[in-house]
Amino acid sequence: MDVNGRKQDSFFIVTVAGRMDATTAPEFEKSCLEWIGQGESAFIVDLKELEYMSSAGLRSILVVGKKVKAAGGTISFSSLTPNVAHVFSISGFGSMFKIHDCLETALANS
């Protein structure tokens, strides 16, 4: 799994590629918590290149989501692949978080 972060306009865009499972999800969590610690608060997480997510991934996302919210920030997700969208949908994360079709829509509507 690869996790990268970059500033774009007033947003902080996190891209995640590969597989977010019990072994890799902690990396996502650690990176995001560092960015939150550095003062980033308007997160868009682009999952275009993420092919797989298990409950360990959902767990990390919820940890990060709670921290962002507690710090007064926002977090939304974009470009979910079919497998990831399925997991978001049945776990209720699809309604708990704001989801955008693509990064451009997320940037325009966040």
């Binding site: 499972d21 019990a22 072994t23 797989y52 298990s54 409950s55 360990a56 959902l58 767990r59 919820l62 940890v63 989501g65 709670k66 919210k69 497998n83 997991v87 049945i90 776990s91 209720g92 309604s95 708990m96 978080f97």
Partner: protein, 142 residues
């Protein structure tokens, strides 16, 4: 039926995942079920590591059987503490981000991804059996 027995550790997930996927790839009708079977396998492995063998390392055995061109059975066995994951309460999906508890989603995903799911404690082993079936398109769709 083919089986693979490995140490119940997270680094066994890769080999177990390949083992299951290779078996499923033998039937075209099962290809679309592979991501769900992988997820179910991971969730069960994580549970076995945490609950069946909380204080020692044990083994996990995965058995696969193609039942038809569109139906597949995955059986996961361990010899740890008796533990029925199906008794775990489902998470409340209606809660917002503040109220939602962290964790507790794994077995719920397993239930949702399988067409049938059973637990047995047999001859000193936890045996979880999961069936995967290709969903028929709704009437009126081809």
């Amino acid at each position: 039926m083919v089986t693979l027995r490995l140490p119940a550790r997270m680094d066994s997930f890769g080999p177990l995942r390949s083992f299951v996927a290779e078996e499923m790839e033998r039937e075209e009708g099962l290809l679309e079920l592979i991501p769900m079977a992988e997820l179910v396998l991971e969730e069960i492995l994580v549970n076995v590591i945490h609950y069946a063998y909380p204080d020692r390392e044990g083994e996990i055995e995965v058995a696969c059987e193609i039942l038809s061109s569109e139906k597949f059975r995955l059986t996961v066995k361990d010899w740890g503490r008796p533990f029925n994951p199906l008794e775990r309460a489902d998470p409340d999906l209606t809660l917002d981000i503040d109220s939602r508890e962290i964790g507790g989603v794994g077995i719920f995903l397993v239930k949702q991804m399988t067409s049938d799911l059973t637990y047995q404690y047999l001859n000193g082993a936890n045996v979880l059996t999961a069936w995967f079936e290709k969903r028929q398109p709704p009437p009126g769709h081809s």
